[in-house]
């Protein structure tokens, strides 16, 4: 029997909420170093999920405290890691622009990541799916045939 990967959907929503709140706090404090730290944490999370700070917070704090309950369903973890990688890239760009003296652009990029994370949590809007769809419909991505119902 083929092995199907399992993904905890609430862990994803938890990490997206943490990201959005973190960026809001960083903006509120005017603290670019918090964005740099978040970019690094997201990069680690995308590259090595086992060492993810968000996963650690989720498993060691949020779940034991009863803040959130796991909701594990069969899913492909690759798109979620891609989305985290994309978030990390945008936050690194944000960090870079904040460091080189273009704070408005830097905070705008960070804010964009927060908005997209919140959109996924609150409205089920998948930014990665949106980007993929827009690129594919313009023929900029090769596509494989799917399993139509």
């Amino acid at each position: 029997m083929a092995h199907r990967a399992m993904v905890d959907q609430n862990a994803i929503k938890f990490s997206q909420t943490v990201i959005a709140v973190w960026i809001a706090v960083a903006g509120g404090l005017g603290a670019p170093w918090l964005i740099i730290f978040l970019a690094a944490a997201l990069a680690v999370s995308a590259g090595s999920p086992g060492r993810s700070l968000f996963r650690l917070l989720y498993e060691r704090v949020a779940v034991p405290a009863g803040v959130v309950r796991p909701r594990v369903i069969p899913d492909d973890p690759a798109p979620h890691r891609f989305a985290q990688g994309l978030g990390a890239v945008v936050l690194w760009l944000s960090s870079l622009t904040l460091l080189v003296g273009a704070p408005l652009l830097g905070w705008l990029l960070a804010g964009l990541v927060a908005v997209l994370a919140l959109l996924n949590v609150l409205a089920g809007f998948c930014a990665g799916c949106f980007i993929y769809y827009q690129l594919a419909r313009r023929g900029w991505l090769s596509r494989r045939r799917g399993d139509e119902r």
Binding site: Q9, A26, R137
Partner: protein
């Protein structure tokens, strides 16, 4: 020190408002359209609401979250709703007709061909049932 974050927030709010107005205008145009031709193709007996579910082969939430929600809807309201899954990349004209700009997206069409709702992103079975007008009806 926090002048720039506040400015960025203001810009994001303006951009979000612009996107919202643009989407609302697109949705209003679609909602006034008639989809009787699609009802005739996908739901010729016209006894049930039609839900067009736009997806792509690489869209994980479409398969893992939206599809189970649609199956749940069909299971709870047998004979009252017909779901048709459509590859948005294989049917770009149909996707454009409903202003589909992301996946998953769902379009709810009444048996008379009236477009009841266009949803962008994952939509729950409960929300779809409400849009179809099945709330309050007994589930089977």
């Amino acid at each position: 020190m926090i002048r720039e974050p506040l400015l960025a927030l203001g810009l994001l709010v303006i951009i979000a408002a612009g996107v919202w107005v643009w989407m609302a205008a697109r949705r209003r145009r679609v909602m006034h359209g008639d989809a009787g031709d699609l009802v005739a193709i996908y739901n010729p007996r016209r006894r049930a609401a039609l839900v067009l579910a736009f997806s792509t082969p690489d869209c994980a939430p479409c398969k893992m979250i939206q599809r189970p929600a649609l199956e749940d809807l069909e299971r709870r309201f047998p004979g009252r709703v017909v779901v048709r899954e459509i590859d948005a990349l294989e049917a770009p004209a149909l996707a454009d007709r409903f202003g589909i700009f992301t996946v998953p997206s769902t379009v709810v069409i009444a048996p008379d061909g009236g477009v009841r709702a266009v949803n962008s992103g994952v939509t729950t079975a409960e929300r779809l049932a409400a849009q179809i007008g099945l709330n309050g009806l007994s589930e089977q």
